[in-house]
Symmetry: C2
Subunit: 619 residues, 2 copies
């Protein structure tokens, strides 16, 4: 245990006075969602960068349970902020370009009106009499701040964890005021497990005898009946924080931090157990937290988080329906407090509502805290930066020439349409022949880096959505302003409604899919017309290689060795025709290609083509 203690999300949050905080006070009372009201609400906030003339470069950052307005340092003499790695000049969230606003949330204890603020009616702290608040109330205080700052429309609203819940509310409650919503490691509601963590944390606080039902602000620390009594429930609040810390880290991250020196704790001064490395870490985090946080605030805000509930499935889709912004949803693979499947619920509900969404489930070892840590910054930071840039530029960045689309990601093995003008032309021809136009909606299954969709987009198509399994390819899509969902096709397409898309593309992917029947059934259900391309195993050189040489075939687009090919399904044009017949799919068109001669094949395609494109549908 050395500097490990500093690697937590907490380490960057300053306990010292915040020098650059500004305050806005609202005269009009705030009527709260659950009843009650707050008079003369004050919001503490910090800003970075400059609002431009058009006032279209403002980005709102919503902090999580225990954060504050100090998202980043303002100069070299300032303390670093809690998202210092992301926010600043020339950083992913570039304050040279954007005007960044980060308020302390309502109910907090870092400058915005909260339980430790004086109640204007009495002049004494609200304490436990502070009225119950919700995420909607927190957002309402932020909305007033934006009015105060003269910002009608946000370029983006961004937040992780509970901050992501605020983003969800912003996008749906104020659809006219948000262009891009970026919920990170968020959820439509806490898991039952997450609720349980919060419940136990609050139980620890409220059962601390120094909590005194929340009336502890007037208490002086000292001796009571000969026993030392702290002025507030430090023990319970520290334990609540320790419980939180378990949930912020993945099991693997805890192993990496604490397993190698399990029995060599860091020397910390603490009344808590500290004889193992993990115990000393928890003691340190618990003790440090009570120096800067208020127990009543913790209870109030965690209850606001617990109460947030957009439901599941159809209910969630209905709740998200009012939103009209672009969406970038980010989760982290081993976050177990806000697990990726909850971000997927958000994504799926948006897709079900016909909205364009980008989603990346960032491969991470960190756990929930990942969005605050440097380890995965190159993925989530780039996503945020590129998405904001794309949104600010109006959707298309023209700088990148199409021909630059080179490299491994740009020509994935599972893509025929990408990288070759011939294939692009052919696909466009097929789409035209099938009556497609720029108003048609297209779903590209296995869209790679978004090359084909980008081509359509540049020609004015607007309703485009990709699905892609490779993280780097998803990042490429986002950089290009192509909406892509990071997903495995073998998981099916339950998020889409019947015939939701005019066209569904599946380009050279079917041969690499485990559940062929499931994927084809799904695309037939979701698309009015489906365009499927695949390598033809009936290609003459392949036949000859097996038949004459007695060797596993390799030729044309099937160019891998039998023992390391990504392809696992080998079938011919004739097989696929039989398959369509069996499954009740109508074949509208079939185009066959010889990729070696770059020619379309019109005679005996099952023998002469190494690639085929089918247009199929189910009536």
């Amino acid at each position: 245990m050395k500097e490990d203690l500093l690697q937590s999300s907490d380490s960057l949050r300053s306990a010292s006075p915040l020098k650059h905080v500004q305050h806005a006070t609202f005269q009009e009372p705030l009527a709260l969602e659950r009843g009650g009201r707050l008079d003369r609400v004050q919001v503490a906030y910090e800003t970075h960068g400059q609002l431009n003339q058009a006032a279209d470069n403002a980005v709102l950052i919503c902090h999580a349970l225990s954060g504050d307005s100090h998202v980043a340092g303002h100069d070299e003499t300032d303390d670093p902020g809690w998202w210092e790695i992301l926010v600043g000049p020339d950083k992913y969230l570039d304050t040279n370009r954007y005007f960044v606003i980060c308020p302390n949330l309502l109910g907090g204890c870092r400058g915005t009106t909260g339980p430790n603020s004086p109640d204007p009616a009495t002049g004494r702290p609200y304490g436990p009499d502070f009225p119950e608040i919700t995420i909607a109330d927190i957002v309402e205080a932020q909305r007033r701040l934006l009015d105060h700052l003269g910002i009608q429309r946000l370029l983006g609203v961004i937040g992780g964890s509970m901050g992501g819940m605020q983003v969800l509310h912003w996008a749906t409650a104020h659809p006219d005021r948000v262009r891009a919503a970026i919920p990170i490691a968020a959820a439509p509601r806490l898991t039952s497990q997450g609720l349980a963590f919060d419940v136990i944390g609050r139980n620890a606080i409220t059962h601390d005898p120094n909590f005194r039902g929340g009336h502890y602000y007037d208490v002086q620390a000292g001796l009571t009946h000969g026993v030392f009594t702290p002025a507030f429930p430090v023990g319970g609040l520290a334990i609540a924080r320790m419980i939180g810390h378990i949930s912020y880290l993945s099991r693997q991250a805890m192993r990496n931090k604490f397993s190698h020196d399990r029995n060599r704790p860091r020397q910390v001064r603490s009344q808590f157990e500290k004889d193992t490395s993990v115990a000393s870490y928890l003691a340190y985090q618990g003790d440090k937290f009570v120096e800067r946080f208020d127990a009543n605030s913790y209870i109030l805000i965690s209850r606001a988080m617990d109460g947030f509930d957009l439901g599941e499935g159809r209910q969630l889709a209905a709740n998200l329906a009012p939103a009209r912004c672009r969406w970038l949803v980010i989760s982290f693979t081993n976050d177990w407090l806000f697990p990726p499947d909850q971000s997927r619920q958000i994504v799926d509900a948006l897709l079900a509502g016909g909205k364009g969404v980008s989603y990346c489930n960032v491969r991470s070892g960190c756990g929930h805290d990942a969005f605050l840590l440097e380890e995965d910054l190159e993925a989530y930071g780039r996503l945020i930066g590129d998405f904001l840039n794309q949104t600010h530029a109006g959707g298309l960045t023209e700088e990148e020439p199409e021909e630059d689309a080179g490299g491994r990601i740009e020509h994935p093995d599972t893509s025929i349409f990408h990288g070759r003008r011939l294939d692009y032309d052919l696909l466009e021809r097929v789409l035209r022949e099938q009556g497609a136009g720029t108003e048609s909606s297209v779903l590209d299954l296995g869209c790679g880096g978004g090359q084909m969709l980008l081509r359509l987009k540049r020609q004015g198509w607007r309703r485009l959505q990709g699905l892609e399994i490779d993280q780097a390819a998803v990042l490429s899509c986002v950089r290009r302003g192509i909406d892509a969902i990071h997903t495995d096709l073998n998981d099916g397409l339950p998020q889409f409604a019947d015939k939701q898309f005019d066209f569904v593309l599946l380009s050279r992917t079917l041969q690499a899919v485990v559940d062929v029947q499931g994927v084809v059934e799904d695309m037939l259900r979701v698309g009015r017309r489906c365009v499927v391309s695949f390598p033809n195993f009936g290609f003459e050189p392949l036949r000859r290689m097996l038949s004459h040489q007695g060797r596993a075939p390799e030729a044309g687009v099937l160019k891998h060795k039998w023992y390391n090919t990504p392809n696992i399904r080998f079938f011919t044009i004739a097989d696929f025709q039989d398959f369509c017949r069996e499954k009740g799919a109508v074949v509208h068109e079939m185009v066959a290609l010889n990729t070696e001669t770059h020619r379309e094949v019109t005679k005996d395609a099952n023998r002469n083509a190494d690639l085929a494109i089918f247009v199929i549908s189910r009536p």
Copy 2:
């Protein structure tokens, strides 16, 4: 929330006096591992069934952190025990056959000497002065009980969670006294995350002002300075228990229990938060626990658990080396407190030490508590029962005729050797030709239900180990007394030493493996001789089907449709010969078969055989 509250592991533990408890008191002081000693140790225990004449049917059950001696009810008037579903007449752990002993562990608070017992030196409870104990001390008290009962050798020692740690110590500290060791949901040491849970639980107890440094036994509940004071730290102990309960359930299990009625809590009388279903559950579990458990015991025993550490890798293998028993290791897929990879560490260390092991990672939705719940009983209960029966019978049950080996599991798609006398004969011939005998060690990769290994075993072979991916097949192996490890071959064979086995078999599995090169490299490393069989894609009817009909080949053993075959690698005998050459493997022998004519093929095998058996090695 209705009877959900009763579905926890805790629900079956009785808080009422235990009617059938017996006690043994040892005059000789117990010298403790970490120093200190205990005089006149008393062990509370219960027994079920009868010790037989040979005294070879005794099974010791080691309970977990908060268990006790009441593993099962003794008659209809008795309370059910904590493992009632497993232990009893005609149950999986059949008390008609076995003499079951379950002691309360040392340091406990349910009859065995612990912190709430009177210190013989003072006549007053030990309290916090009870000396530190370890798993070794707990086992030593159990060993004395066995001496007292006149049991020299246990048929089996079984325990889940912390009970599994006791099993690990039993098997290694007393190798002569254990025939079968069954650690369930266990670990060589707690994860850092698991440690963290324990640390926070203890912090909650020790920071409860009513803990009084552990000196609370003489305190009367009542008013102190006008404030109600409980007689012991009920708040802290309840919170520790709540934290435990989170870790016992999987996220999915919590979702199933609490998500549907999130805001409809059960009516419980409690001082804890109870306005959500999960809060009411935690409040109930916390309050109930303090009625039957002692806070000093909780601290003492959880510290014994935290201190247990057999290390990892080589150190773990060295620590397990003294064991001479049979092993059955069981984990549960979504146990995150004692995650399956920790059981795998135990298994791998045993395998590295050349020991026979059976291992099943039971597919479960429950989490750590799974081993106490009915949901997966059919898997883990059967494993325990069959393994004990096999051990008691001396390894072979002769009742089951070999020909009975029918059904889906018995003839898996990935097995050539199983189910056909021809294949058995051929394999045995190949083994004989390669100089094998009953003293040769054999590793069967993808052993199915253990048919081939059973055949060898019946002929007197003793050093047999299978690996198998299918859970039902692993259960079949255990029923037959064949050691099988539940694993995915794609994960490699890092647990085995170079040339650890005389023969490694890979029967008709290679064509279904993703990482062909990895699997072949691994088997060449681990086996002196490797016997590989696979379907030959060069078989004439397959060639013709592609070449003449233009269809994906189906014939011989490759009888599936292209879109749903379990096979993903298609290669010929000639391909495999090339592959061996490339990889520097020597081919010692090749036998080719036509399974349609049931004949060995000697001419132009690449065209005339649909199956091939290769014997290869790397010098």
